[in-house]
């Protein structure tokens, strides 16, 4: 019965699509595929739709635009031109803040501007993307194993704590210090993930409850830790820890171009880890067991896979990934621990993991997109006066539309095709 109900509308539609004769020429096939509901088209259109709705929000929340609505029926042109100005300016800033600012390129080419300004947006995007990729993976890996890891935030906090403590307490030589700090961060995060994993395996305690609770415990622990003697910065009276030693800070990759380019080794770590997780999932025994348990725990148990130990291991590895994410923040950009050192990178990781369809490289590209939105959002806030919160709305909308291919299909009247669904077959309820 379950099989029947989980056969989604996409499968049915895809079955129908096969009956049409395929076009003969390459161009014909290309054009037809372009407007079918394949994964790529749906994702692009999802981003577009989200930006359109974000634009509507920008327009209606602007006072001047709202003023024109009082005489909308006598002069509708005012409303539309003003809205257009506002929205196009905002999104232009979003682009300039995340990818490249054409005027800076021109200035640099003329010799009147610095190359630093050209690389600044892309540097910011990569800086934000690195920890997001890691926390996104932490969610995605557990998701593939059939576990719903809401505890990414707490695990990332513990990772940041571990990395920072190793970063300023251990006197180690250059090079080794960096690696040790990363490992300690991963270990702290892993420990924080192990707890809900083993509790689930041993007692059946639901991981959603335990991970949510551990998020708070980690947050309070961080708040307590940073005002302790030996941890708090002795030169400061507010709640901030000592800075991580130089030898444990992630090297700035473009530091030679200009000091404001913050992009650091974190992005390299993220790429290596993404590749490693991709290998782990596809090629290793652990990855196979993980996916099997995620798809059907009962069948896996019958087949002789230790479901409990897989749960514990999956959560530990996921925690370690989240811990690495927290570590790259404190070792790359933040340098000191504060109460909000990792921001909401753990919770954003949930969205990144989902947008990446819980596949490692998908997660990586999702992290790039979210990093770009974050970086561009900063510029949009300072140049166009539009609250950074809008970025959160846009991010959520993108994931909603990606998760609802049927909705995007309806809106754009796409031809049916097989689209890799999000979550189908991975999380069947609780």
């Amino acid at each position: 019965m379950t099989e029947q109900t989980t056969a989604t509308a996409e499968d049915l539609a895809a079955a129908g699509a096969d009956q049409l004769p395929p076009p003969k020429t390459f161009a014909g096939r290309y054009l037809r595929n372009l407007w079918t509901a394949n994964t790529f088209t749906v994702t692009v259109l999802a981003v577009l739709l989200a930006l359109v709705i974000g634009g509507i929000l920008i327009a209606i929340s602007d006072e001047n635009v709202r003023a024109t609505t009082s005489y909308f029926f006598s002069r509708p042109g005012d409303f539309f031109s003003l809205s257009w100005d506002k929205v196009s300016d905002a999104y232009a800033q979003l682009f300039k803040g995340s990818i490249v600012d054409p005027t800076a390129v021109q200035a640099a080419a003329n010799g009147t501007g610095k190359w630093e300004r050209v690389f600044f947006p892309i540097s910011e995007t990569l800086t934000y993307a690195a920890p997001l990729a890691l926390t996104g993976l932490a969610f995605a890996l557990a998701f593939r194993g059939g576990l719903f890891n809401i505890g990414v935030q707490g695990q990332a906090i513990m990772g940041a704590v571990g990395a920072a403590l190793a970063g300023f307490l251990l006197p180690l030589p250059v090079g080794i210090h960096l690696v040790v700090a990363l490992i300690v961060g991963a270990a702290f995060g892993g420990a924080w993930g192990f707890v809900p994993g083993i509790l689930k395996a041993r007692t059946g305690a639901h991981e959603v409850i335990t991970t949510i609770m551990l998020n708070y415990v980690a947050l309070f622990f961080l708040g307590w830790l940073i005002v302790q003697k030996g941890v708090q910065d002795p030169e400061r009276s507010d709640a901030i820890s000592k800075p991580v030693d130089d030898s444990a800070q992630l090297t700035h990759l473009l530091g030679f171009v200009g000091p404001s380019l913050r992009v650091n080794l974190g992005i390299v770590v993220a790429i290596l880890v993404v590749a490693a997780v991709a290998w782990l999932l596809r090629r290793s025994t652990f990855g196979f067991e993980l996916r099997a348990v995620g798809l059907n725990p009962e069948a896996s148990r019958t087949a002789g896979i230790g479901v409990g130990s897989t749960y514990a291991l999956v959560m530990t590895v996921a925690g370690a990934l989240a811990g690495l994410g927290g570590a790259t923040i404190v070792m790359g950009t933040a340098v000191s621990l504060t109460g909000a050192v990792i921001g909401s990178v753990g919770f954003d990781g949930l969205l990144v993991g989902l947008l990446g369809r819980a596949k490692p490289w998908g997660v990586f590209f999702a992290a790039l997109l979210f990093g770009a939105l974050q970086a561009g959002g900063n510029r949009m806030q300072s140049f166009s006066g539009i609250s950074l919160e809008l970025v959160g709305v846009i991010q959520a909308l993108i994931v909603i539309f990606v998760a609802a291919p049927a909705l995007v299909k309806t809106v754009f009247r796409l031809k049916p095709a097989k689209v890799s669904g999000l979550g189908t077959g991975m999380s069947k309820g609780w």
Binding site: M1, T2, Q4, T5, T6, A7, T8, A9, L57, S61, D62, F148, I150, L199, R202, T203, G204, A205, H206, V208, I209, T210, I212, M213, L214, N215, Y216, V217, F220, F221, G223, W224, F347, L350, L351, L354, S387, E389, L390, V391, G392, V393, I394, Q395, A396, L397, V399, I400, A403, A404, A406, L407, L422, G423, T424, M426, S427, K428, G429, W430
Partner: protein
């Protein structure tokens, strides 16, 4: 195979163990009790620990020598645990309750005997009252979850519904100058997220856990954005609601302990009590409830019998949205009187935990929420008697207690069988 051979096979496969779950918990409780007796007894001083039933620390109090109390109650907990080995099945719940309360009292005796001279009293009336108050949004949020999940739509978006409710309540209560308009608006705010949840989950078959998480982020972003664009620029015009009025029930509110907790309340308290009863009765004793549960367990069977599965799911998810939105109004009309970005700080997720902890039942969710509320209230009280435990660790108390309760006492829970599975006819 006949029934008797099945029984026989089962008896062979699973021989009766002496170490049942109850007995294991009994051993654990004994150990905790003894540890409490030794540890708290050693740490406590001989000063008096006082408990009053009133809301203030003045008035008649029950006093006990701190060290004696810590040891005696620890031993009582240990004995309760030992008794479980003998009478495991029959008296399990009572013995467990006794053991937990005794451990708690032992702990409090230690804490109070450490407190400065005039602070060594815990006003139980006030603890009871703030437990109930802190539990209110959780009860309402968990009830929203019950409504959705009993009809097989997972609701992780409680947090988002809270935020929308809180925002709408603050904004419209200020604009209209009336808290009642605010509460109505809060219902609508929750309803909006409920509607998105229903349409996307039921019509567009989006994975419901994914959807819930995303709707939370959406609500967080939307309320945050509107807060910055509207409220932050003109607080007096958009963000200055008043408290909801307090309604004391004459007579009943004078009862010690229960009076201040249950009968000196407001719309949220009475609303929550009424809703718990309504939903409990509705779910288990009415046609609607039977159909809802059927749709949650086996929608195809319900459909065969003529139940309109999708319509019922829509209705329940929308009602759930209104209930959670109402719960969101608590944050801006009772606990404070203004909206702030992310002011619910994840309590919607705690409500979700209460729902699972309470095994998807209205009464169970309420008890789970009260448990959480009590632990939070206790943390506040301990803070006010200058506890030697750092406040950060006191704040962890409700969260750690929930983990222990869920892992140690509740164990595996079973969701409605079809929870999270969309229903496609045919």
């Amino acid at each position: 195979m006949t029934a008797s051979t099945v029984e026989a096979a089962r008896a062979v496969a699973e021989p009766a163990h002496y170490w049942t779950r109850q007995r294991k918990i009994g051993v654990g409780l004994s150990a905790v009790g003894l540890l409490a007796a030794v540890l708290f007894g050693a740490l406590a001083s001989a000063r008096t620990a006082e408990f009053t039933l009133a809301e203030t620390i003045s008035g008649s109090a029950v006093g006990i020598n701190g060290r004696v109390g810590a040891i005696v109650f620890g031993v009582i907990a240990a004995l309760a645990g030992a008794a479980m080995l003998v009478a495991a099945r029959r008296w399990f719940n009572w013995l467990l309750g006794l053991g937990i309360v005794a451990t708690l009292v032992s702990f409090l005796c230690w804490q109070l005997s450490q407190a400065p001279e005039n602070l060594n009293t815990i006003p139980l009336g006030s603890v009871a009252r703030s437990s109930v108050t802190l539990a209110l949004p959780l009860v309402l949020g968990a009830l929203a979850g019950v409504l959705c999940e009993r009809s097989a739509v997972i609701n992780v978006a409680i947090e988002g519904q809270f935020l929308m409710g809180a925002f709408a309540a603050a904004m419209f209560a200020t604009l209209a100058g009336s808290v009642w308009i605010g509460i109505l608006a809060a219902g609508v705010g929750g309803l909006i997220i409920g509607l998105l949840l229903a349409v996307l989950a039921i019509r567009f078959l989006v994975d419901q856990v994914v959807l819930g998480v995303v709707l939370n982020v959406f609500a967080l972003g939307l309320t945050g954005f509107l807060y910055e664009q509207l409220m932050a620029k003109d607080q007096t015009r958009f963000n200055q609601p008043t408290f909801v009025p307090e309604w004391d029930i004459p007579g009943l509110s004078k009862i010690p302990l229960l009076g201040p907790a249950l009968f000196k309340g407001n719309i949220f308290l009475y609303g929550a009590i009424v809703l718990v009863i309504l939903i409990h009765v509705g779910l288990f004793y009415t046609r609607w409830g039977l159909r809802t549960r059927a749709v949650g367990e086996h929608p195809a069977a319900a459909d065969t019998l003529g139940v309109k599965v999708l319509a019922l799911r829509y209705r329940n998810v929308l009602i759930g949205g209104i209930v959670a939105g109402f719960g969101g109004a608590y944050f801006t009309l009772l606990s404070t009187t203004n909206f702030n970005k992310n002011m619910t700080s994840g309590l919607g997720f705690v409500a979700l935990a209460a729902l699972i902890f309470g095994r998807w039942s209205p009464i169970g969710s309420m008890l789970a929420a009260l448990f959480f509320g009590f632990c939070s209230a206790l943390a506040v009280s301990l803070g006010s008697i200058n506890s030697p435990i750092p406040s950060a660790f006191l704040n962890m108390l409700p969260y750690i207690a929930t983990i222990i309760a869920v892992a140690g006492l509740v164990g595996r829970v079973r969701a409605p069988a079809a929870d999270g599975t969309p229903y496609i006819k045919g």
